[in-house]
Chain length 381, copies 2
Amino acid sequence: MQKPLVETRSLLLDRPFHLESGDSISPLTIAYEIYGEDPGTEKQVILIEHALSGSAHAAFYHEGETKPGWWDDMIGPGKAFDTEHYRVICTNVIGGCNGSTGPSSINPVTGKPFALSFPPITIRDMTEAQRALLAQLGIDRIRCIVGGSMGGMQALQFFSDYPDQFDSFICIASTMRHSAQQIAFNEVGRRAIMADPRWNGGNYYGDIPPEGGLSVARMIGHITYISEHMMQEKFGRIRKDKDLRAIFRPSFEVEHYLDYQGVSFVRRFDANSYLYITSAIDNFDLVTSISGMGRFRGESRARGTRLTTLETKKGLVISFTSDWLYPSEQSRAIVRFFSGLNVGVSYAEITTEHGHDAFLTDHEQQTHLIRSFLESLEHAQ
Amino acid sequence: MQKPLVETRSLLLDRPFHLESGDSISPLTIAYEIYGEDPGTEKQVILIEHALSGSAHAAFYHEGETKPGWWDDMIGPGKAFDTEHYRVICTNVIGGCNGSTGPSSINPVTGKPFALSFPPITIRDMTEAQRALLAQLGIDRIRCIVGGSMGGMQALQFFSDYPDQFDSFICIASTMRHSAQQIAFNEVGRRAIMADPRWNGGNYYGDIPPEGGLSVARMIGHITYISEHMMQEKFGRIRKDKDLRAIFRPSFEVEHYLDYQGVSFVRRFDANSYLYITSAIDNFDLVTSISGMGRFRGESRARGTRLTTLETKKGLVISFTSDWLYPSEQSRAIVRFFSGLNVGVSYAEITTEHGHDAFLTDHEQQTHLIRSFLESLEHAQ
């Protein structure tokens, strides 16, 4: 079978984009990809939200590349998000470094990269940017918004802010708010970046970036992404290098693995984006945010009709037994919260040893659950 | 009551000290403290082993100081290790930076700090240095060797290498070997230090040390030292600073806490010592080491009589329910291993929310267990 190709497109917003901080970005570029587009047909839309280090390239292949998008196992003809039936859209978050405007983008006022003059962003800013993109594409109705990890936060935020626009959400391996420990892991990553003198107050563009610090941040992340059990099964105490003097270089297999993860990450990710996006994650607090009691002056939204609206909506929450970064208890809290709002929420805990990364790797069980869920939406009508 | 005073003493070894790596250190200095010394009496000796960042100052007060030693809750008149009944000795590990020879010590050959020319050390090197100190002090019999965390590793190693010298061991919140995840956390800490340009290949003495890197390493450590639950209870999502722009400074309480831990650590600990000691911990593998199948050429020891010798020995293993750095399963493995060698091992799992740090903080239950254990040694005679 021929590899299905896709191109990352770029949309320039036709108006200044206002953020929760009170700042605005103008112009704002949003990178996005669309899978399963058939001109002339009226397919329903599935909106995909990516995680911390993801991009708009969720599926299919870029011309000339051998590796498909990050969720290609889940998106395509006959897959969980079947592109024969749905028009599937994925956008890159603002603040990122994969096509949408972020700290590494050129500030049109100065002609230089924004760096730390980029305004702080929130999860809601990410979804509001998506909303602007959808409006410009003429899309006002979404069959299902779905994401894992930070993608799940966006799915919950967007769905809660505009329930009229969505039939359903799927939230995988995520949470309504970070615990102290989750903030702590992110903070140590940020500190590792900022402790690297090459970070230089965020002004490293055109120079060597803070590779050491960003690499350490990614290594910390990877420890939390996989389960203790899988790490032990995969690496145990195996070592490539039995020299007792190998204090100052990787020696155990697990050290080589983390080293590889760190090194390959710095090639594709911007350190300032890491700071902005992890802060958005830590600041995310769904309940506070949608109760209008948030810290930030959000634009006021008509919420009076929400409760009645929500009764016709559906949600699917998925967690993984060995995910110790976003443990199942946090997913169960999501289920309780949305059930309390009369959303018809289903919950599944998948038994796996793959830890948090299971949302990227364990596609079979997820496919089964998601396909049934999307089918149930058809029957509900 | 008057504060009991103690001084850190220093012993210069009267012979070159040979390491498992084949290197030797000469001269070797060992810092130690003795509590409950009563000239003329014949008290039995308790040997205290400290953890990663500990020192010989386990109890009592240094002249003019308001803070006692790190295990003062456990050592003193009427306490778990009752200095009315026992002579309690604590020594600083070699490779450290609190009085014993380590990478920050002056190399007598060059007149400069050893830095990375300091030879690699092992947990057994630490205990062999102690053994040399004890020999020079004229002590050849130990009632009990005790330690938590890395101190527990030393207790197991020393006891296993010379069972004739010990009546018993107490091993708290420790393991016989690091898992892949435990190695991973240490490795990320090491990488944070080495990624700091001020580390400068280990040559920073007389200059600004790699404070940023060492601080990040300590912050990672602290996340693993306390339980997720306690972190949540203590800090939750409370923030001192509600400014959304606080991306680049601590904002949440948990961030301030970690920041404080990092900053105060760099004032008292040497970054190179951190590298050497964490590597010794990762390399530690008790079973391999005492089966003589180890990676390193150790001096040969007469082990033929061990099994019969061990039948008269006792051990106490303690773990804490919320310790996710050294989970109880690793303590149960210690119990199984020494039971298999016919050591009379007791095991207690203490219910606490204080995580790994409980070995330093939860003194009441530990005191109860340890006092009973030490009393049982009396009855056994």
